[in-house]
């Protein structure tokens, strides 16, 4: 029996192993996805949490006030150092400070430490001494109450006041109230207050425009630009893709040329996106945009109107990029419809057009939506071609406003993907930008998710209306 058992055992092991291998691959991909989302969520959302401020006294007698960010080992195993965010760029010039743990004498968390977000100089961390407003002086409790009350008022109704602040090194500065966007004393806040402050900051991030060269403030213009561009792209790509798929599947003779076209279309999906960007720049922006300018906007020349990157050209370029996806998905949907349905319609006296519009297309709608979902997912995350055809680091105007014609297709726009890239690599303070990068990335994922879910629910609804699967 021995001669038989060895190969048998090997085969048995092999056949037991492969389901595990498959399961392991699934588990690994799920794990990576979960890690990605957790990382984005914790690093991104954690940034908005009102973190505790520490007052650190060093052996040298120096005082450091700041928010501990992370720790790193010193070279030559000489201990560990901790990075503090200290703010106060106007005083020391640096808003970050590495402190070796061995140098620390005491660490305290006093309640009277405050953190201000200010317009020109970034955050201030320190203490509030007194407030002077309209000849009146407020100290301690009264000063706090005054500032806290002023911050609840809308910006235009805030009183004119000067805040006297003490920094960690004892330096006293005067800060006008009007430059302050947030006043916080995180150490004194209760847990509920922190949650409220946290959600307020997240809301500000979502609803406000960027400040301080994209390293602060919110991303609302970028959210708006991304969604608007994706919607415009879908509006352009869907009819084109669907009509092309109908032609390929329903009208064209199925011969070698059709097959060649089909292979070509499928391969277009694999062309690097930057190539589409170059095409868009050459054909849409310089070619078509340039011609439009010379015909209709001669007065404005030499400053270009359509002859420069803009919302329309970006949407068109991305529509071109996602066209193969829509064509392929729609074609597959059309091919799945049984010929019996087509014959049934024709046998009732329907013309080819009636058969298409009344039976075939309604049945293929879920497949088309699948194509649009894939297109949206691809387009929302695409950055490279947009850099060539119209995305801006900081767009001065939103592409939609109250001014006729309300939707300004020629304007440059902001995009979350590009905003992320810009925040990460072109900011003045890269350390400060890192949490924003994570938050923006999380937001981008969420937006793609929301856009997809909308299409998925629409598809589900259509299927439900039909009765069942198709």
């Amino acid at each position: 029996m021995a001669w038989l058992s060895r190969p048998l055992r090997a085969r048995a092991t092999g056949s037991l192993l492969w389901p595990w291998l498959c399961a392991a691959s699934v588990a690994l991909s799920l794990l990576m996805l979960a890690t990605l989302l957790t990382l984005l969520a914790t690093r991104g959302l954690g940034h908005f949490w009102p973190a505790e401020l520490e007052e650190v006294t060093l052996h040298s007698g120096d005082t450091v006030i700041g928010q501990p960010v992370r720790e790193a080992p010193l070279p030559n195993a000489a201990g560990v150092e901790r990075l503090y965010f200290t703010g106060n760029r106007d005083i020391g010039g640096e808003s970050w400070r590495w402190v070796a743990l061995d140098d620390i004498d005491t660490v305290a968390v006093p309640d009277d430490l405050i953190r201000l977000e200010r317009a020109p100089w970034g955050d201030f961390i320190g203490r509030l001494d007194e407030v002077e407003s309209a000849g009146q002086r407020f100290e301690d409790e009264a000063a706090w109450a005054f500032v806290a009350h002023a911050m609840t008022l809308p910006e235009s109704q805030r009183p004119i006041a000067q805040l006297r602040l003490t920094a960690a090194n004892g330096q006293i500065i005067t800060q006008p109230l009007e430059g302050i966007t947030r006043f916080q004393a995180p150490n004194a806040m209760s847990w509920e207050q922190k949650v409220v402050a946290w959600s307020e900051r997240i809301w500000q991030f979502l609803s406000e425009g960027p400040r301080a060269a994209n390293t602060g403030g919110g991303v609302w213009p970028a959210i708006f630009g991304t969604v608007l561009m994706v919607i415009l792209m879908s509006v352009i790509v869907t009819p084109f893709g669907v009509l092309a798929a109908i032609y390929l599947n329903e009208i064209a003779h199925q011969n070698r040329l059709t097959r060649l076209v089909r292979i070509g279309v499928r391969n277009l999906a694999g062309v690097p996106s930057i190539v589409y960007g170059v095409f868009g720049l050459g054909v849409f922006v310089y070619g078509i945009g340039g011609s439009i300018d010379s015909w209709f906007f001669e007065d404005a020349l030499p400053s270009p109107t359509f002859g420069t990157g803009g919302l329309l050209w970006a949407s068109l370029t991305l529509a071109l990029l996602t066209l193969p996806v829509v064509i392929v998905a729609t074609e597959e949907g059309l091919a799945r419809i049984p010929d019996a349905q087509r014959e049934g319609a024709v046998a009732l006296g329907a013309t080819r057009l009636e058969m298409l519009t009344r039976v075939v297309l309604p049945m293929a709608t879920p497949a088309m939506l699948t194509g649009v979902i894939l297109a949206v997912a691809r387009a929302a995350g695409e950055v490279a071609p947009l850099m060539l055809v119209g995305v801006a680091k900081l767009a001065p105007q939103m592409p939609v406003d109250g001014e006729f014609p309300y939707l300004h297709l020629e304007r440059k726009f902001m995009h979350l993907g590009y905003h992320l890239f810009d925040t990460a690599f072109h900011g003045e303070d890269v350390q400060a930008a890192i949490p924003l990068v994570f938050a923006t990335a999380l937001l981008l994922v969420l937006i793609v998710l929301v856009l997809n879910l909308t299409a998925i629910f629409l598809r589900h609804y259509l299927r439900r209306q039909r009765g069942n699967e198709c």
Binding site: H253, P338, A340, A350, R358, M363
Partner: protein, 270 residues
């Protein structure tokens, strides 16, 4: 009424009917798929208000013939044909013949039920809507009449606006028949209408076919010999694209003229 004549002594005897009773007249009809002959010089008449069954082994051309009567082959460019098919003395391939109108007059029901992905009501209304607007009252009446004629009204009258795909297979097939009846065709072509159904649904369809005879002319393609014997008045036996034998069903089944027919009917095919 019946005038039997042999058009060609070596070929199968052809049953011809005088003009009053003849609904469909097929004359020397020949059809090929991409050069491959599927129907060879077929000549037969289908009598009005009767059920005519086409039987024969798979690939004998009976479904092809049925589809030719509806001109469904128009969709396929590789099909060539010559010869005549006349519907009430009009050549269906004549240039002045409106295909859409022909297909309204010649309804067709397929092997697998193919209700459209819409409500029961909309399925039956589909053919009506193609012909233009009708007052809603009138359309409702026609739909009720069609569903009643297809023996489906009682089962679906409470859920007319539900999806047709929720019906059972047998109900779907009757819905398809109702859909076809709604445009009031002269001829109803049935391509193995019960082959995908269970025995009870099959019986219902057969009963329906017998009842519909008073309203229109029916042509039935079937693999089921008993079904042909049960429901049809005339039977045509086709083999390899040729008409082998055609006559009253009783005669074809009990006393076939040719040995080939008898072999097929009794299951002694070699």
């Amino acid at each position: 009424m019946l005038a039997l004549s042999s058009a060609n002594p070596t070929q199968a005897p052809v049953t011809r009917f005088s003009a009053e009773t003849c609904c469909l007249s097929i004359n020397q009809f020949h059809l090929a798929y991409a050069g491959k002959t599927a129907l060879r010089d077929l000549t037969l008449d289908v009598p009005r208000h009767r059920v005519t069954a086409f039987i024969g082994p798979s690939g004998c051309g009976k479904s092809t013939l049925l589809r030719a009567i509806n001109r469904l082959h128009d969709l396929n460019e590789s099909v060539t044909h010559h010869g005549q098919i006349q519907l009430e003395d009009q050549d269906i391939h004549a240039p002045q013949m409106n295909v859409t109108e022909l297909r309204r007059r010649v309804g067709m029901v397929f092997q697998t039920p193919n209700p459209f992905p819409m409500s029961i009501y909309e399925n039956v209304a589909f053919g009506l809507r193609l012909q233009g607007r009708l007052p809603k009252r009138k359309r409702d009446d026609i739909i009720e009449w069609a569903l009643t004629s297809a023996a489906l009204w009682d089962e679906v009258k409470d859920r007319l606006h539900r999806s047709a795909w929720q019906l059972s297979g047998g109900q779907q097939q009757r819905l398809v028949i109702a859909r076809t009846l709604a445009v009031q065709p002269d001829v109803l072509l049935l391509d193995e209408p019960a082959s995908a159904l269970d025995p009870i649904s099959t019986l219902k369809i057969e009963e329906l076919i017998r009842n519909l005879k008073s309203q229109l002319t029916l042509v039935l393609v079937t693999h089921n010999m008993q079904q042909a014997a049960r429901v049809s008045d005339y039977t045509a036996f086709l083999q390899q694209g040729e008409l082998v034998e055609y006559g009253p069903t009783d005669q074809v089944f009990t006393n076939p003229r040719l040995q080939r027919t008898e072999n097929y009917i009794t299951g002694r095919m070699t």
